[in-house]
């Protein structure tokens, strides 16, 4: 008994999903790895308690979101606004610039705005679920979603049909 019983297995079972979420949230591999590590460090410190939760993996996801949007994190601590280091192989000819444009536009959002979009459009969470995970009100999620989509329209006017389409869902 070392206080970490089952932790390694728990992490191994979920690292794939957490890695994908972290990369979508951070937009860069370095930022994503930092997010996963930060969330797991928090989890490991209270593993004796978290392991008894009904859904311990939810704690890690929540920690990841909070690390991403933490108001205490200084600007630029991890590269939300970095140029994404994702390659775009084998795209249709018009797909490459389009994806790059979306990446660049997303990089202009605040961490919280990006997190809200990820919750709503990557995880398909409801507004209420997103509010619960972020620890904010339903109204805040709605307004942040609206702000984020509006900002995407401003920084990338050519994506207007994209954001209108998403807002209408």
């Amino acid at each position: 008994m070392n206080g970490f019983d089952g932790f390694r297995e728990f992490v191994q079972a979920h690292t794939g999903a957490w890695s994908r979420l972290a990369y979508v949230l951070a937009g860069s591999h370095a930022g994503a790895e930092d997010l996963v590590q930060t969330a797991l460090l928090k989890t490991a410190r209270v593993w004796h308690r978290v392991r008894r939760y009904e859904q311990p993996e939810a704690y890690v996801r929540r920690a990841m979101y909070h690390a991403a949007v933490s108001q205490w994190r200084r600007r630029g601590e991890w590269p939300v606004a970095d140029v994404p280091d994702r390659a775009a192989p084998d795209d249709p000819i018009d797909g490459i610039p389009r994806r790059m444009a979306i990446d660049a536009a997303l990089a202009q959002l605040t961490p919280r705005q990006r997190a809200v979009l990820v919750l709503r459009f990557y995880e398909d969470r409801s507004v209420a679920e997103a509010a619960d995970i972020l620890g904010v009100t339903v109204g805040t999620v709605k307004s942040q979603t609206a702000y984020a989509l509006e900002r995407l329209r401003v920084v990338a006017p050519h994506l207007v049909e994209l954001t209108i389409e998403e807002a209408g869902r």
């Binding site: 070392n2 206080g3 970490f4 932790f7 390694r8 992490v11 191994q12 690292t15 957490w18 890695s19 994908r20 979420l21 972290a22 990369y23 979508v24 937009g27 591999h29 994503a32 790895e33 996963v36 590590q37 969330a39 797991l40 460090l41 928090k42 989890t43 490991a44 410190r45 209270v46 308690r49 704690y59 929540r62 920690a63 909070h66 933490s70 108001q71 205490w72 200084r74 600007r75 630029g76 601590e77 994702r86 390659a87 797909g95 389009r98 994806r99 979306i102 990446d103 979009l117 990820v118 459009f121 990557y122 620890g135 904010v136 805040t140 049909e161 994209l162 954001t163 389409e165 998403e166």
Partner: protein, 431 residues
């Protein structure tokens, strides 16, 4: 057509497998060992101190003095700060008078935002609109710093003097409040490689290099005139993870030696421009740059030495670091069950050793709905704290002054509805 959902899905498919399990376990075990070692060391100190008393031997080094500051705040008043202030109706916002260019307005007390516009409140309770984005208010209330026209403008509030500097953030003030520490704004948000120390009264200034600016940023001046630095990032573990780019001076391997005897790395570093930090699971660090020789040093503030539990930690993020008068004040963060981190107790740190001298226990924060207190600065009146109402977006709704001796708190300002607190004397804006 690529929608957001499809875009996020494609992005996710490009993720790597970030396997950090062993790093996490190693760092958590090491932190746990240090916490236990600190508890054991404390027990030894207590036992030895008791024996010393019995044998009338000189006392050992003093332990951290804990001061209970959890009581209910009582009404109070500061001479320079109105207890509250009236606001004209929203429709009257455009008539808020502009800061006059032909006369002084008296010492400043507070900067607030209303309707998206920033205003200065003077000690006599008058509000003025500010012709730019406010970046600092000196601890004595004499100088207001704001950005306008691509420059940083210092405006003396007692007369009409202004001092202009290159576009910069005000990173902090000297302990006596007469000099400002500037962090020049860099293209693309890159870290600034230098800090400028400016006396806005006479324009004298000095530029000081920042060792490893990617990792360290300016925060103020020590009472002896050294440039104070704080980390911009959490330092990675020295045993795993990305290489620590600063550590040309070897860090003690505390995982094998237990509690280190000395927490201070006071020797000038071997390679100019390199300044070691402390992995975040072990603690925090501050750096100093000597103004004449430009030699730098760092001091480790190890969590285990000051009695941190597993849910408390320092943060390199923008929390106040201030002097009282020659000791550093820090605020710790605590992790809630919800995984959110919020400000917790305030510590007084000896900048020579990194050891804690006093700890003020603030009202506990156990949920996101609990009001929490943010350390703003230390003034002759006491330790200034911003208090919110426990509701998102957690803006300060009141200011409290903490008596450093008794722990008593007094509410000295209540923000009127519709006004958002921005900063007050000695407070610096995040940059």
């Amino acid at each position: 057509m690529t929608g957001l959902r499809e875009h996020f899905a494609e992005t996710a498919a490009s993720a790597k497998h970030y396997d950090v399990t062993e790093v996490v376990l190693r760092r958590t075990r090491r932190r746990r060992q240090l916490t236990r070692a600190a508890a054991a060391a404390a027990a030894i100190v207590v036992a030895t101190s008791a024996a010393a008393v019995l044998t009338r031997s000189p006392a050992l080094a003093p332990a951290v003095t804990e001061i209970d500051a959890t009581g209910t705040a009582t009404p109070g008043r500061l001479g320079w700060l109105p207890q509250t202030f009236g606001l004209p109706g929203m429709g009257d916002l455009p008539v808020l008078p502009a800061l006059p260019a032909d006369r002084g307005v008296g010492e400043g007390a507070l900067v607030y935002r209303r309707g998206g516009k920033e205003a200065l409140l003077t000690s006599d309770g008058t509000s003025y609109s500010v012709p730019g984005d406010v970046r600092g208010l000196s601890p004595d209330g004499r100088w207001l710093a704001y950005g306008a026209g691509g420059e940083l403008v210092f405006r003396c509030l007692l007369d009409t003097r202004t001092r202009r500097a290159a576009d910069s953030d005000v990173a902090g003030w000297s302990a006596d409040g007469t000099r400002a520490v500037l962090a020049p704004r860099m293209p693309g948000g890159l870290p600034t490689p230098v800090a400028a120390v400016l006396d806005p009264a006479d324009g004298t200034n000095q530029t000081l290099p920042i060792p490893d600016p990617e990792w360290w940023g300016p925060r103020g001046l020590s009472p002896s005139g050294e440039l104070l630095l704080t980390p911009r990032h959490e330092f990675p573990s020295t045993s795993a993870g990305p290489p620590a780019p600063l550590s040309t001076t070897a860090q003690p391997d505390v995982s094998t030696t237990g509690l280190p005897e000395a927490a201070s790395t006071t020797e000038p570093v071997a390679t100019p421009g390199k300044l070691p930090g402390v992995p975040d699971d072990l603690g925090y660090a501050v750096g100093f740059v000597e103004p004449v020789t430009h030699k730098s040093r760092s001091v480790a503030i190890l969590s285990a030495r000051i009695g941190f539990g597993e849910q408390s930690y320092w943060s390199p993020e923008r929390l106040a670091v201030t002097w009282m008068p020659d000791r550093l004040l820090f605020q710790a963060l605590t992790t809630l069950d919800s995984a959110q981190s919020l400000p917790a107790d305030v510590f007084e740190i000896d900048p020579a050793t990194g050891g804690a001298l006093r700890r003020w226990r603030l009202p506990p924060v156990t949920t996101l709905s609990d009001p929490f207190r943010k350390l703003i600065t230390a003034l002759p009146d006491g330790i200034l704290l911003g208090v919110n109402d426990g509701a998102e977006p957690w803006l300060s709704k009141a200011l409290e002054v903490l008596d450093p001796v008794t722990g008593a708190r007094r509410t000295v300002l209540t923000m009127p509805p519709g006004a958002e607190f921005v900063l007050t004397r000695g407070g610096a804006r995040p940059y």
